[in-house]
C-alpha cells in the first residue's frame, strides 16, 4: 500500500488574533502547527500501513520553514516527507495549490503507485475545504469527504468502505482504489509519538522539490495560477445577547407585549 498525505502548516488557531484596525490576521510571533485534521489523516495512513504494510509519504506546499511540520509527521509515523517549495508557488489560491499537489502526487505515483491520497477535511486558516476535492478532480480519482471511519480496506479487491460524517447522520460508501479521502477528527485518535520516532524525526532530512521537479506549468502555479480575488477579510460582528424574561407568567407576558410594542413589532 502507498498512501500520500497532504498536510498544511497553519498558525496555531488558539493564538491567532485579528487586528481590529486593519482586519487582518496577526500572524507575527504565532507558533505554527500541523493543521489538526491533517494529523488525523497521517494517523489513518500510518494505521493502515501498520496493518497492511507499505509506505506513507507526506507532502506539503509551503515556505522552507514548513519542513518543521513535515518532521512532526515523520515523528507521527510517516516514512517519507517531501516539501514542495519554490518562489513561484507563492500566493497560491486553492486552484493553484491543488495543481501543485496533484503534480507532486503524479510524480510519486510514477515512482511507487499510489493507492490512497489523504487530506484534512479543511484547513483551520483558509477553511475552504477545496484543496482535497481539487486534487481528486485533477487526478481523475474518486473523492470521499468527511470520513469518520474506515470500515474495510482490501488491497486484493481494491475496495475501501468508509463512513462519512454528515449533518443528518452517517453514510456508508464503498469506492475502488485509488481514492482521495478528506478526514474528520472523529476518524481516530492521534497517537503520542514514541521517543524512537521523535529521534528518527529529529534526524530526518526532508526532501524538497521545486517547480521543475514536478514539471509544473508556470501559468498554473502561484499568483499567476490563482484567479481568486480576496476583496475583504473581516471578523463577523459579535451578536448581541438576546433579552431573557423570567418570572410569573402574567408578568412575563405583559413585559413581552411591552417590549414588542416598543420595538414596533406589534402596534397598539
Amino acid at each position: 500500500m502507498h498512501a500520500v498525505v497532504c498536510i498544511k502548516q497553519v498558525p496555531d488557531a488558539t493564538e491567532v488574533r485579528i487586528d481590529p484596525k486593519t482586519n487582518t490576521l496577526v500572524r507575527e510571533g504565532i507558533p505554527s502547527i500541523v493543521n489538526p485534521y491533517d494529523l488525523h489523516a497521517v494517523e489513518a495512513a500510518v494505521q493502515l500501513r501498520e496493518k497492511y504494510g507499505g509506505r506513507v509519504t507526506v507532502i506539503t506546499m509551503g515556505p522552507p520553514q514548513a519542513a518543521e511540520a513535515l518532521q512532526k509527521c515523520i515523528a507521527q509515523g510517516a516514512d517519507e516527507a517531501i516539501l514542495l517549495t519554490d518562489r513561484g508557488f507563492a500566493g497560491a489560491d486553492t486552484l493553484a495549490t491543488s495543481y501543485v499537489l496533484a503534480q507532486a502526487i503524479r510524480k510519486l505515483n510514477a515512482e511507487n503507485p499510489v493507492d490512497l491520497v489523504f487530506t484534512g477535511k479543511q484547513a483551520i486558516d483558509g477553511d475552504t475545504a477545496q484543496v482535497g476535492p481539487g486534487i481528486a478532480a485533477r487526478l481523475g480519482i474518486p473523492v470521499l469527504t468527511y470520513i469518520c471511519a474506515i470500515r474495510s480496506f482490501n488491497l486484493e479487491t481494491r475496495e475501501i468502505v468508509v463512513e462519512r460524517l454528515l449533518e443528518e447522520g452517517r453514510e456508508v460508501v464503498a469506492a475502488r482504489l485509488p481514492v482521495l479521502l478528506t478526514v474528520t477528527k472523529e476518524l481516530n485518535e492521534v497517537r503520542y509519538a514514541s521517543l524512537p520516532s521523535m529521534l528518527r524525526a529529529a534526524r530526518y532530512q526532508v526532501r524538497t522539490w521545486n517547480k521543475d521537479d514536478i514539471e509544473a506549468d508556470p501559468k498554473q502555479i502561484g499568483l499567476k495560477g490563482s484567479p481568486t480575488i480576496v476583496s475583504r477579510i473581516f471578523s463577523p460582528p459579535q451578536r448581541q445577547a438576546g433579552l431573557q424574561l423570567a418570572g410569573p407568567a402574567p408578568e412575563v407576558a405583559r413585559e413581552l407585549v411591552e417590549q414588542l410594542l416598543q420595538r414596533g413589532v406589534l402596534t397598539a
Binding site: 503520542y192 529521534l199 529529529a202
Partner: protein, 432 residues
Amino acid sequence: MPEKFDAIVVGAGPAGITAAYCLARDGLKVVMIERGEQPGTKNTMGGVLYRQMLDEVIPGFWKEAPLERHVIDQQWWLLSEDSAVKFGHRNSEHDKEPYNAFTVLRAKFDRWYAQQAVKQGALLITETVVTRLLRDSAGRVIGVETDRPDGELLADVVIVCEGANTLVLEASGIKPKPRADAMAVAVKEVISLPREVIENRFQIQGDQGAVIELFGDPTLGMVGNAFIYTNKDSLSVGLGAMISEFQRRRVHPHQLLERFKQHPVVAPLVAGGEIKEYMAHMIPEGGYEAMPPLYGDGFLVCGDAAGMVIAVHREGSNLAITSGRLAAETVVEAAEAGDFSARKLSAYREKLEQSFVLKDLRQYRHLTPMMERSPQFLGVYPGLLNRALQEFLTVDGVPKRQKEKQILRRILKERPVTALLGDAYRMWRALG
C-alpha cells in the same frame, strides 16, 4: 534496548543549549530534551543577556542572533507610593561594539541558539518531558526516562539543565523540594508600543536600549523588585518577590503588576501599549546555601536547576551559559578518560570555583537571607528617602537649616541611630 548517547541534556534553556552546543562541536553524540513546543516557549526572562559569556561559546554571536537592543542606560529607582528617587548611569562605551549587554525576548533567542547547537550536530527533541533519571544497581545515573512511549534513553552522562522547577532532581532524590523562602516568583508582560514612542520615552535611538530596576513600593517593600526593559517595539515589564513573602502578605503577583503599571512614574512609560504576552516563572534565589549537589556518578547540574542566580545583579542566564560550557568541558575530559564517576566529574565544581560563578554566588550568600530578615531595606528606606527629598526640594520659605533638622528628626523617628548603624553594618557584611 533504548538508544545510547554520549550525553543527554535535560532542558533547552541557556544552560542546556550551551552544554549541547559545546559537546556536539567537540564531536560527542548528544541529545537535548525540551518539554516546550520549541526552546524558549516556556521561558520568561526579562531579560538582559550579557555578551561576554556567550561570546566565549560563539564568538561574535551578537552579529547574527535575534537580539532586541544593546543596553546603554541602566537605572535604579526607589519608589514610594507616589514618588521616585532615581539613580542611573549611561555611557558611550556600552554603545560600541562588541557591546556589554542586550535585551532579548527568549522565545526568539532560545530558538535561534538551539538551532546553532543543532547545526553543530546536537539532536533536539521537543514536546517531551523527562520524568526522572535512570540509575544502575550501583546507583550511577545511566540515562533518562521520558513521558513518551518507549521513552527511555541511555547515556554516559546526563546534564540536568531543567531550570528553576527542579522536578527531575527532586524525583531522582538529588534535591529536596525548594523552600518558599528560597524561591522567588516573577510575572512579566510584553507590552507592544511603536519604536519611536519607546525611543522618545527612554531617550534612546536606533538599537540603543535602556533598563530600569525599581525597588520599594512596587513589591510593597517585599524582598524583590520590578523592572522595565526596552525591546525593539515592546517593553518587558514585570516584578518578582520571594514566594514566602507573597504568602505572608496574601497578595498575588499579578495584582501587584497591575498596581505597578498605574504608579505615577510608571504609567507614562507604558501608556497606550497593548499587552502581547503574560508569563509567570520561578527564580531560585536561595543562593549559595540552597544549591543542590552539582555532580554525582554520571550526572551534572547547571544553571537555574543548580540555583545559579545572583538576584541583585539580575544575573542568571550568564551563569547558566558559563556553567553549561564548563559542564561540557568536564564531560569532554571525562569521555577522553572513559571515566564518568563522581570523582572525575568533580572537576566541574573546581572549574566553577575558579570562574565568577561560584565566586560571586559565595560572595552574595548572605544577602537574600539578610534582606528577608531586615524588611526595612525595601520596606522603610525608599519611603524615607522620597519624603526627605520631597521636603528638601519644596521651596516654602522654611530656612534650610531648619529643614535639614526636620528631615533628620523624621528619619531618626523611623530609624533610630543605632538601627541606621546596624543596617549599614549588615549591608556591608552581606555584600562581603
